[in-house]
């Protein structure tokens, strides 16, 4: 599925830029008109955070209204232990370690030296950048003497493509391809935030792309269980503001419902083919999220029929418990749970920058700290 980011608004509307800006201004005015209290909302997805900060949308909200930035950056929350395993494998001469671009500069745990995959490549490791998981099949076929390991990360948006890779690898009988799995599920993380007694979230803007794959049923369960408004939102300025408006309208009326403010991409049932693929290959498991800790049902594991493709099993890796992942000064956990902002961190912009990240939200361009660093300092 194609992600539409705000640049596209401008691209789409080169002839009609005034129209988009006008619609945004109108919606902002309407939002101000219906708002009577300083509501606090959380946008779940890192792509949404990035768009909000990039376009300064928070500057257009009524005074006192706050947007908290959620944990929806899969690169950020990939546990340091998985990174450490990837780094260790990438150093082995027989291994070709491949993953998505922004994973390559995420540092492993401080205890293991805090190196990233680009550093391992500079030291002679064979680290490859993929834009599609299926490229790993090609690598495995072209290098039969080597072991190809795919570090598979992402939410339910990228997990179906990993599932397809697994099925293909089995169909082709490839014996030199394995996966280091770190896929995460977004709704259990939203539930974990609500279960935290400190949480301040009064309404969610849910991640549109995850809903496009998974449908809205699991979000409805969240609404029913926690009595919190959830609005499925897109990623363009106008779509995000529509999400905020729909959420505030519910809050002002004392309601808690599920709204779909991204109908262009999201249908109630989601993408059945993708869901079926996921269900065949993966099963939910409790998983550690970097900065957040273990989340019940927060990750995906290979079903028993596919476990021979698990790199941890193939290489006999023992994953240490996460332990101290970030230096004490870093408040990544509080930021990912939405109880603090990046600017509240003493390390932000000084000892912690995108070139030398200390904590999860600074490591990927879509993490909240990186977005603030890029647009706000």
């Amino acid at each position: 599925m194609v992600k539409r980011e705000p640049q596209a608004v401008i691209a789409d509307a080169l002839a009609d830029a005034d129209g988009v800006a006008g619609a945004v201004a109108e919606l902002a005015a309407e939002l101000a008109r219906i708002t009577t209290r300083p509501w606090t909302l959380m946008e779940v997805c890192g792509g949404q955070t990035h768009a909000i900060v990039r376009w300064g949308l928070d500057q257009l909200l009524p005074p006192g209204m706050r947007l908290l930035h959620g944990p929806g950056c899969p690169v950020c929350v990939t546990p340091a232990a998985s990174l450490d395993a990837a780094l260790a494998l990438a150093r082995r001469p027989e291994v070709i370690l491949c993953s998505y671009g922004d994973m390559l500069r995420v540092p492993g745990s401080a205890a293991a030296g805090g190196e990233d995959l680009l550093g391992v490549r500079a030291a002679g490791g064979d680290v490859r950048l993929l834009t599609s998981p299926l490229q790993a099949l090609d690598l495995a076929r072209r290098h039969p003497q080597r072991q190809v390991v795919f570090l598979a990360v992402g939410f339910e948006t990228t997990a179906p493509a990993t599932a397809l890779l697994v099925r293909q690898a089995v169909a082709l009988g490839l014996s030199n391809l394995t996966l280091l799995l770190a896929h995460v599920r977004v709704v259990p993380a939203m539930a974990a935030i609500l279960a935290d007694s400190e949480h301040q979230v009064q309404g969610f803007l849910a991640a549109g792309h995850v809903a496009a794959v998974m449908g809205t049923a699991e979000l409805q369960q969240l609404v029913d269980r926690w009595r919190v408004p959830v609005v499925v939102s897109g990623f363009e300025p106008l779509e995000l503001l529509r999400g905020v408006w729909a959420c505030v309208r519910q809050l002002e009326a004392g309601e808690a419902q599920l709204n779909n403010a991204y109908p262009a991409a999201v249908r109630r049932g989601g993408n059945r083919d993708a869901q079926e693929l996921l269900a065949t290959v993966f099963q939910p498991q409790d998983q550690c999220w970097r900065g957040l800790g273990v989340i019940a049902g927060g990750g995906l594991a290979l079903r028993p029929a596919y476990q021979h493709l698990d790199a941890r099993q193939r290489f006999g890796l023992v994953l240490d418990s996460p332990g101290a992942e970030a230096p004490e000064v870093c408040i990544a956990g509080a930021i990912l749970r939405g109880v603090a902002r990046p600017s509240a961190c003493p390390a932000f912009g000084s000892s912690c920058t995108p070139d030398h990240p200390l904590g999860a939200p600074m490591v990927s361009s879509e993490g909240a700290c990186a977005a603030y660093y890029r647009y706000r300092r």
Binding site: Q7, A11, R54, G56, L57, G101, P237, S365, E366
Partner: protein
């Protein structure tokens, strides 16, 4: 059998002589220069500009150009950015053992064609061959001599509050063409690099009497990095209108998919211009037919670049950090 570069092509013997005679002769306006250890130049009277740059692009060929086009335009453009007419280039080639000769021939043809397009002559050169695995096909270094034709020095020190910021064309085409070639992205329609000489534009601006306070070619790091450098060097804030910045739709779409900021993408035939407010219209009259545009203005003392979004909110425009990597989702 495929003809390939061998170590002996750099060994100083007969193979090397053959390579020069057969393949490199077309580069030289005056082939007699090939026979000497150094070029002897009769230069016009005046102030000279001198610059050097090395080229290590992968892949060597991409839509709209190759490493040869870059090696000539890049260095000639650096001269143009101080208001100098590019005159002469040196050409240092480092070839990797095993390089296919047909590829080298295509690059040499590009070098020759680009030199003609830029109005420069290649006057001296050198070739070395390194063992397979110790190079990346072709590395090129070019140095360039140019004659200053701008009446006043062009540079950050000349920038004043109230000056206007312009760009010479739409941004990011080269960056997208390279990233697409590097990561095997099949863009439809394909995007070609913007690699082109900038001196013809600068010459026209000077002829029209436009006072050029500063020029900067927008290579690696793109507009964002160039503006930050100008702001830091001048000690003045720059204010940019995002909606005014020209980005072609296919570039914007590619950025949207891969998570790139178009203002961080490399260009090889684009520059940012700083001119006094009174000269803005005269400059735009020459820039607009090329796709250029007004993008902002110089503000108060400070060292930052502020960007106003299409919605009237403001944010910082910061230079690229690290390398451009496609994101996961």
């Amino acid at each position: 059998m495929t003809e390939r570069i061998r170590l002996a092509h750099g060994g100083g013997g007969t193979l090397m002589q053959q390579l020069i005679d057969r393949e490199f002769r077309c580069l030289y306006a005056d082939p007699a220069l090939l026979l000497h250890d150094a070029a002897v130049l009769a230069l016009p009277h005046g102030r000279l500009a001198f610059t050097t740059d090395s080229y290590v692009v992968q892949p060597l060929e991409f839509a709209g150009g190759d490493i040869g086009t870059l090696a000539v335009c890049g260095t000639a453009n650096d001269l143009a950015m101080v208001g100098a007419r590019p005159l002469h280039l040196s050409l240092g080639l480092i070839l990797e053992e095993g390089l296919e000769l047909v590829l080298l021939r295509r690059v040499i043809a590009s070098l020759a064609a680009s030199a003609r397009a830029c109005g420069v002559t290649i006057v001296t050169g050198d070739t070395k061959v390194v063992e397979r695995g110790k190079g990346d096909g072709i590395f090129i270094n070019t140095s360039g001599l140019g004659l200053l034709e701008a009446p006043e020095p062009i540079g950050p020190a000349a920038i004043r509050a109230g000056d206007q910021l312009l760009v010479s064309g739409d941004l990011g085409r080269h960056g997208v063409a390279i990233l697409a070639a590097r990561h095997g992205l099949k863009l439809q329609p394909p995007l070609a690099s913007d690699c082109a000489p900038l001196w013809p534009l600068v010459e026209q601006l000077l002829a029209a009497g436009v006072r050029l306070h500063a020029l900067r070619d927008l290579t690696r790091g793109g507009l964002a990095s160039a503006l930050q450098e100008l702001s830091s060097a001048a000690g003045l804030e720059l204010l940019v209108e995002e909606r005014a910045i020209p980005v072609a739709e296919p570039v914007a779409r590619c950025c949207e998919l891969l998570g790139f900021e178009p203002l961080h993408l490399a260009n090889e035939g684009r520059c940012v211009l700083v001119v006094p407010a009174a000269d803005r219209q005269a400059a735009l009259a020459l820039l607009e037919p090329l796709g250029g545009a007004w993008i902002g203005a110089v503000g108060e003392p400070g060292q930052r670049v502020l960007l106003r979004t299409a919605f009237g909110s403001e944010r910082l425009l910061v230079p690229l950090s690290g390398e451009l990597l496609p994101r996961i989702c």
